[in-house]
Subunit: 248 residues, 2 copies
DNA sequence: GTCTATAATTCGATAGAC
DNA sequence: GTCTATCGAATTATAGAC
């Protein structure tokens, strides 16, 4: 028996409030109307049950078409996932670039804007973002490498912002790589639990996490703070400046 | 064609440094030697390729046995996952309880110890912990609910520690639920990127993240800090004290 | 308890009509 | 571009010998 135990049927997914996000048309003009519907359906399916537990029948049923219809618009199920991943990561990267970010010249302002935008984007698009975070190793190695590059560029935006604040004295001395990991983790992990009908709007959560990010790097008056909270050089193994990650 | 595109074969997984953790025998005396080997093999497979992309052949091949041997020790593939999940979450909960934690009576010390232990545990057991975080919705609804309860109790340990520090004036006024979410996200998200052969030992990372957690709730001198980093009451929608999560 | 062999099912993808 | 029908492969789990 190769039974499939998908927990959500297409019908159940339709109105589940946990699967609502603000990505009605994240897919731009790049695809036709039917293909966009397929992508939207696939995002819901992948987010609810995972890539491998989703069948091509599930995806096409979500737009009211037969299983074969999918292959008119995409050559394979993996390529449907890849397009979701590519567009999601491209949009997330563009969201922490551009004039709204560049306008913040003060180091603290820059980090605040970055974290606010990064967090709010992941919250607004949390269903698509969840697929982007959870299904990376369902990609082919070639596609995985392309997505990794987009993720690396996003990380670099944060790394530069923090490093500049440390260099100009706005932020405390700290391990830049470690603290950037922590900031990104806030935005990445929210796709696991966030829901639009919960208590936090994307903007409110973005503001709150921006506060946390700034607190992570804020200079503190030495005797206002208990010793261990003051950043200090680490001993033990080598510094983490050359660390590489599994997923970029 | 129902082709399987697993990125890691059993042979490749054997020596991959990214799949090494300190869980040689996380499974206690509860299982026999062969069953423990099956669990260890399954953890590697699930972590590398995901539950649905792992076959029962992969798991049993990891201990040098035939596919049918698995069913002598476990009634189904899902129950292998459930045992991993149950033991992992039980151990993670026990790790933030017990005398070592109770010994820290000062609110700041308590939060520091909690975060250090939570982080270090996830780092030490990052391969098993990755399965625990990423494969939750491959469980049956009944098993999922049991794991959710264990996760809820772990969250409560943090919530109580933060709430007590706020109440006794050690920590700043803040949204307890939101800030606890942020702290847990640090420990949870590290299973995505952590590797034992990287620059951070579990203990070092635990210490660093404990610093970050304390900074999240530290009282700040009002004029040492830029305004937005000072915690303030939120407007907009209702407070998040009754928020529920998808995964607990 | 482990094996070989296979049953029962389901999947991704294609063929060919319209 | 969409459909029905189906192929070939691969899966979970079981049967029965040893």
């Amino acid at each position: 028996m190769a039974k499939r135990q998908a927990r959500f049927t297409p019908a159940e997914m339709e109105d589940d409030p946990r699967l609502q996000d603000q990505s009605p048309d994240l897919w731009g003009e790049e695809f036709g109307e039917v293909a966009r519907g397929m992508l939207a359906s696939a995002v819901r399916c992948f987010a609810a049950n995972g890539f491998h537990a989703t069948t091509t029948r599930d995806i096409s049923a979500g737009v009211g078409l037969s299983p074969a219809a999918l292959y008119v618009h995409f050559p394979s199920k993996e390529l449907v996932l890849y397009q979701i991943m590519r567009i999601g990561h491209e949009r997330a990267l563009a969201n922490v670039q551009g004039p709204e970010v560049e306008a913040a010249v003060d180091s603290a302002d820059r980090l605040r804007v970055l974290t606010r935008r990064y967090t709010a984007w992941h919250a607004r698009h949390h269903v698509a973002a969840r697929v982007c975070q959870y299904e990376l190793n369902a990609l082919t190695p070639e596609h995985f490498e392309q997505i990794r590059e987009l993720r690396h560029r996003t990380t670099e935006v944060f790394r530069e912002a923090v490093a500049r604040g440390v260099a100009d004295g706005t932020f405390a001395q700290t391990d830049v790589n470690r603290v950037v990991r922590g900031m990104l983790s806030l935005g990445i992990d929210l796709v696991r639990w966030y829901r639009l009908d919960g208590p936090d709007s994307p903007e409110e959560l973005g503001e709150f996490y921006a506060d946390l990010a700034l607190r992570m790097v804020t200079r503190t008056a030495p005797d206002e703070q208990s010793p261990a909270t003051v950043s200090r050089p680490r001993n033990g193994r080598k510094a983490s400046s050359s660390s590489a990650t599994v997923t970029g």
